[in-house]
């Protein structure tokens, strides 16, 4: 093959890509109007985040987020006074933002931390969940808090950017000195396997996630969650950018649930006594919900 021939074939590919790239920029109506017209709403949920969205023992796809989604669909049905078909699409931390940004799904409810950087790509609803980052370690581990991580290996999810940034800040501010080594895992399930095997000394992510990982372990008592909150992680519903009608509707639905007690009931179903994951509502969370209970 000659240099000329390689060059020719490469430039052909480049031309094709340019043509392809020009066919973007769609002007779309509000999602709310689309839902009314089609009678369908497509919402994304997590599959492996206990108890936000996961497969239960019977193989059913359930979760706290899914219950919120169902309430949202009920509100849509009440608004338009007709049946709305609820399509559930699986999403993960890596694809959840692109899926909403490109319009594949109308909303993504999946334990997603609201960050300013993410706000640049998509919009968020009001926060509906508040947790913070902690550490999961083997029972009896010498690591009791973040200072104990000095020089150790810590697992993080490669898509959990808010977590990675929080940990990096702790390293930069010399809170963890000498720095710990971050080991990236594709998802929390593989990360937990790494912790079980001893590949990492601790796993770092949101407490709600850690509690879910621990609950799924063969012997949950072999692991413990340690440390205070390093960062606060408010979760919001991912919504398409620049669609204030749809966002207002979702927010109003959430506020309604905060005020009439539906939200607390749903929370207790999953996180209260007898729920999938016992996680009493922290005081800060309670205050957040009160603040967000805007008057009519």
């Amino acid at each position: 093959m000659t240099a000329k021939r390689i060059f020719t074939s490469y430039s052909l590919v480049a031309v094709l890509f340019t043509l392809f790239g020009m066919s973007n920029a769609l002007w779309a109506e509000s999602v709310l109007e689309k839902i009314e017209k089609s009678g369908k709403v497509n919402i994304g949920y997590r599959e492996g985040a206990v108890p936000f969205g996961y497969m239960n023992d019977k193989g059913e796809w359930v979760g706290f987020d899914m219950d919120l989604g169902t309430e949202l669909v009920k509100a849509l049905e009440a608004k338009f006074n007709k049946r709305i078909e609820h399509t559930r699409t699986p999403m993960n931390p890596k694809n959840r933002i692109p899926l909403v940004a490109n319009g594949t799904i109308d909303a993504g409810i999946g334990a997603t931390t609201i960050t300013l950087e993410r706000e640049g790509a998509i919009d968020f609803s009001l926060p509906y969940f508040l947790t913070g980052t902690k550490l999961l370690v083997a029972k009896g581990s010498p690591i009791r808090d973040y200072r104990g991580l000095a020089g150790k290996k810590v697992g993080v999810g490669s898509g959990s950017t808010a977590n990675i940034k929080g940990l990096q800040k702790a390293i930069d501010s010399k809170m963890i000195d000498p720095p710990c080594e971050m080991v990236l895992f594709e998802d929390h399930t593989k990360g937990f396997l790494g912790l079980q095997q001893g590949k990492v000394d601790a796993y770092f992510t949101d407490e709600a996630m850690l509690a879910g990982m621990r609950a799924k372990a063969p012997k949950p008592d072999d692991y413990e969650i340690v440390g205070g909150f390093l960062t606060y992680e408010p979760y919001g519903i991912i919504l398409p950018p620049g669609d204030s009608k749809w966002r207002d509707f979702v927010n109003a639905t959430l506020i309604g649930m905060f005020k009439d007690g539906t939200f607390e009931k749903t929370y207790n179903k999953w996180f209260g006594p007898g729920g999938q994951l016992i996680l009493p509502m922290p005081e800060e969370y309670r205050v957040m919900l009160k603040v967000l209970s805007f008057p009519d």
Binding site: M1, V13, G159, F185, Q197, G198
Partner: protein
């Protein structure tokens, strides 16, 4: 409302520019180290398959079939998650505690051993393509077995295998992208990583594609130049370029 703003500066602005350089450099040495293992091991396996020893032939064949017929991704997961737990517990913990970058080491080993099976087949096909008459002619001029290989058969065989080996090297180079699944931040991994921070995946993936295209192009050019220089007139004639 749904549109995508291209922002190419994510490719060079701090801290992402440095990440990309590091990612590309990781791809380069990851694939070169794997290639070294592949050539050495592949040649050994191939020679095993060509010896008159039955046991060696069997072992060589078994190696090729085992490593060639399991998807590389599965092999990576095996080496990273399962293989260490087959070791005694103390050794396993020592490995986790003292190896600085286990994912990288595993990627080199997995990619090297996998590519070795394919390299072995490439070289073997070259050896088999040398006509029997060449062996006999060499013997009849009084060359020993080793001399026959060194002076007559291997120079032919390697020329025949050359384009195949080029392809195998390129495959090895591109397969290194799978290392991202075990946490190695090579070119593709870096593209996905930067994407998760900036949401500019189209730019980062395009950049990664260009890196692979450019490197592969350079490798193909060099290899075909070498092939042309080494050509023995009248021996092998392939195409018209």
């Amino acid at each position: 409302m749904l549109h995508y703003d291209f922002e190419w500066s994510v490719l060079w602005r701090y801290p992402y520019g440095g990440m990309f350089i590091q990612g590309i450099w990781t791809t380069v040495h990851l694939s070169l180290f794997s290639w070294m293992i592949a050539i050495l091991l592949g040649l050994t396996v191939c020679l095993c398959r060509m010896t008159p020893l039955r046991a060696a032939r069997f072992l060589g064949g078994a190696y090729v079939e085992l490593f060639r017929n399991i998807p590389l991704l599965v092999q990576l997961f095996f080496w990273y998650f399962a293989a260490p737990s087959l070791l005694p517990r103390e050794l396993e913990l020592w490995l986790y505690g003292n190896v600085k970058d286990l994912g990288y080491l595993v990627a080199v080993i997995a990619l090297g051993t996998y590519t070795a099976a394919r390299v072995s087949e490439a070289i073997r096909s070259g050896l088999l393509a040398v006509p029997r008459g060449q062996y006999r002619a060499a013997h009849s001029t009084g060359l020993s077995g080793g001399q026959t290989y060194r002076h007559v058969v291997l120079p032919y065989a390697l020329r025949i295998s050359w384009p195949l080996l080029t392809t195998e090297f390129l495959t090895c180079f591109k397969n290194s992208a799978l290392a991202m699944t075990i946490g190695v931040l090579e070119t593709t991994g870096t593209a996905a990583y930067v994407d998760s921070f900036t949401f500019h995946g189209l730019e980062t993936t395009t950049a990664a594609s260009c890196v692979y295209l450019a490197t592969s192009g350079a490798v193909i050019l060099t290899m075909s130049r070498i092939e042309k220089r080494m050509r023995i007139p009248g021996l092998i004639r392939r195409g018209y370029n």
